[in-house]
Amino acid sequence: MTLLMLATLLCGAGMIGAALVALLTRQTATAVLAAGLLSLFASVLFVLLAAPDVAMTEAAIGSGLTTFLFFYVLGRIRREDKK
């Protein structure tokens, strides 16, 4: 029980930390990565909260596809910005 609690707290700290990084960093790319990391932490938290389905989805969609989409758009914007 306490172990579960500890893991939860750790996850929470990780998420909030990632969120802060995402908010405070100057680099958009870092922010996107931090948000992806946050999603990963979230899926761990979901496992802890006995929600494996949600965890899978969050991992695949939240940290996977979303992050990729961000990078994709970011990449294009950067390249065009340079022109």
């Binding site: 999603s39 006995a50 969609i61």
Partner: protein, 118 residues
Amino acid sequence: MAQVSLLIGFTLILLGLYGALTNRDILRMIVSFTIADAGVNVVLVSVGYMAHRTAPILDSAVPAGQAAARIIDPVPQVLVLTAIVIGLGVTALMLAYAYRLFRLRGSLDISQFMDLKW
């Protein structure tokens, strides 16, 4: 346990909102919204959490007869699944808009897009 994760979720929502309301960069606003969305998802799942119970899957460990006493509430999880997918959709859409807006002005600063007012 549930309260702790609720707090985590709410904190994420507020952090996300703060970011979305203070960052002028459109992409950063969208990132902030995904953080807030993650927070909402955590809140939803936390509400369904019940201590000392297992995930809502009826395998050999949890026979159907005992299910009502052994599993946690599946409904919030279902809602979160839906919410995550919808969140992806909205994020993708906002990103496409952001890209279009960027091509319009060559800038991602939201205060550049104030042609419509009053």
